[in-house]
């Protein structure tokens, strides 16, 4: 062999399996199965770096496209969506000492080469180069099929013979049957049966040079990031699948290596040399430092200018804020909403429909992190932000089983004889229903949870009692003290500790859509992609509890006896609200509730009308009521891939008083968390708010951002060809990898800008607060989220930059520019 192929001893010890897998896990997509879709930053592995550096690295290593194409920025500029002043400002800020003129040519005219060498995959490309074999096309179909059958959560009628030993263990057991083998040749089979399949040993056969092992594994796994990410997620979140499966990234790699050995054996017999013998030099480490090109700099300038053009207008709006004297003595009601942008627009319409009401925003789990079990013996859903670990379980008892078994996708239709019956009877019936849905959409499929008429008769185990033993390490229900604490914390965080109206609504949100595998992405992000109605209902129940009220009184939050809390669920797709437990309202409150309900209905109509403006297929001249009807029928239409536009265009999060933002329409781009700096001089509450709201909002924002810029790799592509795999994820066609991220239909209208977090407080306190935890600080210090502070009193804007605050003066615009 060629002398240059021998590696030094140092190189030979380079491979550390644990470290490689750990690192791999960092960069693989971290997306849970479809049922609990949680928004997260797809580049979480790069979050330790500054935003721009992270993007450059991610694109050079993994080939992602993380900015818009240069041409698109240029056309945004010519259409006025990027302002000259923002552009100039960004250039001077990023490149002090240069003049704007120096950049003009680069920004506006110069053409750049957009394709470049991507590091991932370069080692394994040698299979094609030297061996003339397309290894992926030989191994992927079998690998995906076996993996998805093992992990399947309920598509197949015959279950995989799962062995408690885990993935490899199950496969080994099956391979032992001796009649049929997973492999074509003998070698891979006997490796599986007779050895422990150490990755190292398998790699020795395939690659043969330890210096290349680590990169080989990266190349191999990033050829199907969807499945690898899923395996890694399941490994890290044991117990979260409905049908438990034991799999690890390691086992996935082991099996894939076996398949590769088998494919090579069947192609070349045993006479093939490991890949390392053909690769002359060790390729550059994929994680070696990357070089920032001029194009990267130009794109970063454009991106920042795009962002600041919008932020600038947003901040100008805030500077025009008029201190409305919103303190009415007799408020009609107070409503607590999720901080979600979609709830935000409803709040605005509600305030318009009923000027004497007051609204608040807070993360939609309403300070009640818990697991929820809808039916006895059923699975748990997590009703809390993704990063939290709830310790309580709420169970629903006595709920009617409303679920009809499906008429259209009956499992029997796979069978020979039942299928024979079904196709000649149900087949015609199905066609009839289909024709009906096309002309008069109405739901005839089982829809996801939130739309089902929530059963008011059911009972939730909210209060812990001796009768409830802990289940799976979770306490069933809350004690009175815990309840009081939950209620107090939430009310303090939004500064609602006095002046209670007679009715306080707690409104979670969820979404109902049919024919939509990504339905969970439409639900509440603060409830891990579940509808937040349960939390609202639980919170209202707690706050109505007599003993809790007594404790709260002692803690200085006196809730008058006449005040009652009402839980509710806002269906963001249909724009309908369901109120819970209204039968327990007092007579007077009942009347007031009837009155308030009218305001809610008017607000919902207006909100639907506002949303309808974005749907091309809806006539903009419709009355709010008609528009609402159209929006509703859209939600049950089988052929509507955009039942709602979700968080598209989200851009700003305000942590402060509602009065700040009340005067303007924000076009559904705003997350709002109620907060009063005056009642929180030390910033303790602010820390809680930011710790909960930042990951949720930034997760949503960055997932939309990168799904928009790189819909091929970080997004899920068009929804239309999606095929549901094992109820875990979607793929294109039968042999594709799982697609992570958001489909085009959700992101196409999104303006990819980072989140601007606006906090109303003194800068020194904010510094202190975000310095408290490294994870929180990372978001702002590395600029994955922009931060601007509004200083109380002076009302000056201060921008967080390089660990300090600098003053920011928004440009002046005429009023009509601000209000669209």
């Amino acid at each position: 062999m060629n002398a240059s192929i021998n590696d030094s001893p140092a190189q030979n010890t380079l491979y550390d399996e644990r470290e490689t897998l750990e690192r791999l896990r960092c960069f693989l997509p971290c997306q849970p199965p479809l049922k609990d879709f949680i928004h997260h930053n797809p580049l979480h592995g790069f979050q330790g770096l500054n935003f721009e550096d992270g993007l450059v690295r991610a694109s050079k290593i993994f080939g992602y496209q993380l900015y818009l194409p240069l041409e698109e920025y240029r056309s945004l500029y010519s259409s006025g969506r990027i302002s000259r002043s923002a552009l100039e400002q960004v250039v001077l800020e990023k490149h002090p000492g240069t003049r704007f003129e120096d950049w003009q040519d680069k920004l506006f005219c110069r053409q750049y080469k957009t394709s470049f060498h991507v590091r991932i995959g370069s080692l394994r490309a040698n299979w094609k180069r030297f061996y003339k074999v397309d290894l992926d096309s030989q191994t992927h179909p079998a690998l995906f099929r076996i993996l998805s059958s093992y992990l399947d959560q309920g598509v197949a009628t015959w279950r995989f013979p799962v062995d408690p030993e885990g993935f490899i263990g199950s496969l080994r057991k099956m391979e032992q049957n001796g009649l049929v083998s997973f492999f074509r040749g003998k070698r891979a089979s006997s490796l599986l049966l007779n050895t422990s399949c150490e990755i190292k040993n398998l790699l020795k056969t395939i690659v043969g040079r330890p210096a290349l092992y680590s990169q080989y594994i990266f190349d191999q796994q990033f050829a199907h990031p969807g499945w690898s990410g899923m395996a890694s997620w399941i490994e890290n979140n044991a117990g979260s699948l409905l049908l438990e499966r034991k799999i690890s990234l390691q086992q996935l790699i082991q099996f894939e290596l076996l398949l590769e050995i088998d494919a090579l054996d069947s192609h070349f017999g045993h006479a093939w040399l490991p890949l390392g013998k053909h690769v002359k030099t060790v390729p550059e480490d994929i994680f070696a430092p990357v070089e920032k090109t001029e194009l990267d700099q130009v794109l970063a300038i454009w991106q920042n200018a795009f962002e600041w053009t919008y932020y600038d207008r947003a901040l100008t709006k805030l500077s025009r804020y008029k201190d409305k004297n919103g303190q009415h003595d007799d408020k009609s009601h107070q409503s607590l909403f999720c901080l979600d942008d979609r709830s935000g627009s409803l709040r605005r319409h509600l305030e318009q429909a009923d000027p004497v009401c007051e609204t608040f925003g807070t993360p939609g789990f309403f300070g009640v992190p818990c697991f929820f079990q809808a039916h006895p013996g059923g699975s748990y859903t997590k009703q809390a932000p993704a990063q939290s670990k709830p310790t309580h379980l709420i169970k629903q008892v006595g709920a009617a089983q409303t679920r009809k078994s499906s008429l259209v996708l009956p499992t029997g239709s796979n069978s020979l004889l039942r299928g024979w019956m079904i196709s000649q009877t149900l087949g015609f019936w199905a066609a009839f229903k289909l024709v009906r849905n096309i002309f008069r959409p109405e739901s005839w499929l089982t829809t996801p949870e939130p739309v089902k008429e929530q059963d008011n008769a059911s009972y939730l185990t909210i209060e812990n009692s001796a009768a409830y033993p802990p289940e799976n390490g979770l306490q069933v229900g809350y004690t009175v003290h815990e309840m009081a604490e939950c209620v107090e914390n939430l009310l303090r965080s939004i500064d609602l500790t006095a002046d209670f109206a007679r009715l306080v609504y707690v409104i979670g949100h969820g979404a109902s859509s049919v024919n939509n595998p990504h339905y969970a992405a439409y639900d509440c992000g603060a409830c891990s992609g579940n509808p937040g109605g349960i939390n609202a209902r639980v919170f209202a129940w707690m706050a109505n509890h007599q003993k809790v009220r007594e404790l709260l009184y002692k803690k200085g939050v006196p809730i008058p006896e006449r005040t009652q809390f009402v839980g509710a669920l806002h269906d963001t797709t249909r724009d309908d609200i369901t109120f819970y437990d209204t039968q327990s309202l007092s007579e007077e409150n009942g009347q007031r509730h009837d009155h308030n309900r009218k305001a809610f209905i008017a607000a919902l109509d207006l909100n639907a009308k506002e949303r309808a403006g974005r749907f091309a297929s809806i006539d903009p001249k419709l009355t709010p009521q008609r528009a609402h009807q159209v929006v509703r029928s859209r939600s049950v239409s089988l052929f509507e891939p955009r039942p709602e536009l979700n968080h598209a265009t989200n851009a700003v999060c305000i942590v402060g008083h509602r009065n700040l933002s009340r005067s303007f329409s924000w076009d559904r781009r705003l997350f709002m968390n109620s907060y009063n700096y005056a009642s929180d001089p030390g910033g303790k509450v602010l820390h809680d708010i930011l710790s909960a709201a930042t990951p949720v909002c930034a997760g949503i924002n960055l997932e939309y951002l990168f799904s928009r810029t790189d819909n091929l790799r970080l997004g899920a592509g068009s929804k239309l060809p999606h095929n549901v795999i094992g109820l875990l994820g979607v793929a294109n066609g039968m042999e594709g990898d799982l697609r992570t991220g958001l489909p085009t239909q959700m992101t196409e209208l999104h303006d990819p800008v980072r989140l601007l977090m606006i906090v109303e407080h003194f800068p020194n306190i904010v510094s202190l607060v975000i310095g408290k935890s490294g994870r929180l600080r990372e978001w702002f210090a590395n600029q994955w989220v922009h931060l601007v502070v509004i200083e109380p009193g002076s009302r000056a804007f201060l921008r967080f930059k390089d660990d300090g605050f600098v003053a920011y003066h928004p440009s002046t615009y005429p009023e009509n520019v601000l209000e669209p």
């Binding site: 080939g63 059958s149 309920g154 799962v162 089982t446």
Partner: protein, 621 residues
């Protein structure tokens, strides 16, 4: 009456042409055109059916429309309407109407909105031609259109790897079915010695008389029909193409592979039933294929963890049963079953995204396998059966091993054929052949009868080399053209073929070949890479060249847009009954040629392309 048929055939065709002409950005206009076309068609179909029922519904055949005739050869279009036609017409019309209406909104803002609808309408035109066809030649026209539009819809997402790869795969199976029909036409020609329609073969006396004297050739015809039906309806051993065809948008998948396309094999069997009903062996063959497919496919369906492939295999297993019903002579049941299955599967596919919200709530569920079978079978056998199903009984591997690999290996053995050598060999050899052809007296008598076969074999070699060529697109293209020339030469040896017939055959070849060549040269001017080693995706930048090139590919493969289409038929008509090898070589050449052409088109114009650098690392998207 014929007026009705003409109307039903023309409506989708006119719809196709108007959409083709309308601007791609105007979604509303396209959407309205589609809706009008399909509503009109549905209405006419309903009226037609009602009319047929009221007037007693006797089978009705139109007069032959002779398109080309030369000597004893006659090429004509014929139409036939009976119960079978009506069932397929209604099913197709309702489903296409529903699916296009569904897609008008579903595809909103999708790139290729226009492309989607005109392909669907073209497909539907082909479907109508097939179901109304009154002879094999007409059926073949529709059949070819179905195959081509299938290719276009599977590769609807033409800049992605898997759709394009699978489209080529499916096309090759379809091509096999096409050529089976072509061979059936050839055999028929010798069986009857005259022009024949479906109407005539329903005359039992006539068929019986012919089969008595030509038993063997009767079997050949029937086997070819069964082969074509099995391939198109995804029966064993071809089943694995159907789930892999599900790469396009869900509605197109639903209508093609859930419903109409997959059932067209059933139509072929029902249509030719009078012909083979007295051949017990053939009926047993159909029954056996159907039954084994039914059993195998239902097993595979049960272990599928992806919803679309599950529906695909479930559908295949029902089609298997339909085959059994047809073999048993239960025509009415088969028709009912066929329509029901088409409706059911199309609907299931359309609502398949709902499965997550439906099934996820069906808990609590235990881990037990929901089959009663595993209680009766020993664990070891059960596991083996499960694994066998998981591996799809090796069906996909089977196709790879027995369809692709031999061709590739054979092609590799022909590696010595370079452009230069091909020219050096081809020109003198062909000239010599042509010389001998006109001066027959130089040929030793014993050799003469073998020459056509030998030349057709040379043609086949050219086609195979063209298919397996991995780099040089020019070589591949020229080889395809030479294949046709060899075939023409071979036929001329057989008997004195009138020059006008040869010209008819070669005119399309020369024209399409030259156009394609010109497209490639034009493309070469803009793009550095146009080899066959990988997908290039040039359609993104050079849409027009791509379209013209695609049309030349079609022309060269004998698609009914050039006279070559009729010429192909003509060529076959000159192959004698005792020249089975000759027929086999020519038809194999035809298959390989078609696949090779589509492959060239796919490699150069489709796929992830040169402009995205990620082909290797991210092909699963």
């Amino acid at each position: 009456m014929t007026y009705f048929i003409t109307l039903l055939l023309l409506i989708p065709l006119i719809g196709f042409l108007t959409i083709l002409m309308s601007p791609a950005q105007n979604e509303l206009m396209i959407s309205r055109l589609v809706f009008t076309t399909m509503a009109l068609h549905l209405f006419t179909s309903l009226a037609f059916t009602a009319f047929r029922i009221l007037t007693g519904g006797q089978p009705l055949a139109s007069d032959s429309i002779v398109i080309f005739s030369s000597g004893s050869f006659e090429y004509a279009m014929d139409f036939l309407v009976d119960k079978i036609t009506l069932v397929f017409l209604l099913t197709g019309s309702v489903l296409t109407f529903v699916v296009t209406t569904y897609s008008r909104q579903y595809l909103h803002r999708e790139e290729g909105y226009k492309r989607f609808f005109y392909t669907i309408l073209l497909f539907y035109s082909g479907y109508n031609i097939s179901i109304f066809s009154g002879n094999f030649e007409t059926l073949f026209i529709g059949w070819e259109i179905l195959g081509m539009t299938s290719f276009l819809l599977i590769s609807f997402y033409r800049d992605r790897y898997l759709p394009v790869k699978n489209a080529v795969k499916v096309f090759s199976v379809y091509r096999l079915a096409d050529v089976s029909i072509l061979l059936a036409v050839w055999a028929n020609h010798h069986l009857w010695g005259t022009y024949i329609t479906f109407e005539k073969i329903s005359d039992y006396q006539l068929v019986d008389r012919q089969l008595q004297t030509h038993n063997l050739i009767g079997i050949v015809v029937s086997v070819m029909i069964v082969l074509a039906a099995a391939a198109k309806s995804a029966q064993l051993p071809f089943s694995s193409w159907l789930p892999r065809a599900m790469e396009g948008p869900t509605p197109s998948t639903a209508i093609f592979y859930g419903a109409l396309s997959a059932h067209i094999g059933v139509f072929l069997l029902l249509r030719t039933w009078p012909f083979w009903q007295h051949q017990a062996g053939i009926r047993m063959l159909i029954g056996a294929i159907g039954l084994s497919t039914g059993i195998v496919a239902t097993g595979i369906a049960r272990v599928q963890s992806s919803v679309k492939s599950q529906i695909a295999y479930a559908s295949i297993s029902q089609i298997g049963l339909i085959f059994v019903e047809i073999a048993a002579g239960l025509e009415n049941l088969a028709l009912l079953h066929c329509a029901g299955n088409a409706f059911l599967r199309a609907t299931q596919l359309l609502v398949s995204p709902s499965i997550v919200s439906q099934r996820i709530g069906e808990y609590p569920r235990t881990q037990k396998s929901s089959s009663s079978l595993d209680r009766w079978i020993p664990q070891r056998l059960w596991t083996a059966l499960y694994m066998l199903n998981l591996k799809e009984w090796g069906l996909d591997f089977f196709m790879y091993r027995y369809l692709w690999s031999p061709l590739k290996r054979l092609g590799a053995a022909l590696g010595f054929l370079t452009t230069q050598r091909v020219t050096l060999f081809f020109v003198p050899a062909y000239l010599a052949g042509a010389f001998l052809c006109f001066n027959g007296h130089y040929i030793p008598l014993g050799l003469r009868q073998w020459l056509p076969t030998a030349f057709s074999f040379l043609g086949l070699i050219m086609a195979i080399k063209s298919f397996s060529e991995r780099k040089n697109v020019w070589l591949s293209w020229i080889l395809i053209i030479t294949n046709h020339f060899w075939v023409a030469l071979a036929v001329s040896f057989n008997e004195s073929v009138p020059a006008n017939q040869l010209l008819l055959y070669l005119s399309g070849v020369i024209f399409s070949g030259a156009t394609g060549y010109w497209c490639l040269s034009l493309l070469r001017r803009y793009e550095r890479h146009i080899g066959l080693g990988q997908f290039h995706g040039h359609i993104r930048r050079h849409e027009r060249i791509g379209i013209v090139f695609f049309l030349s590919c079609l022309g060269l493969s004998g698609f009914p847009i050039t006279p070559t289409f009729i010429g192909e038929d003509l060529v076959f008509s000159h192959i004698h009954q005792n020249q089975a090898f000759f027929a086999v070589f020519v038809s194999l050449g035809c298959i390989v040629n078609g696949i090779s052409l589509i492959r060239i088109y796919a490699r150069i114009f489709l796929g992830p392309g040169m402009h995205s650098q990620y082909e290797l690392t991210y092909r699963s998207s």
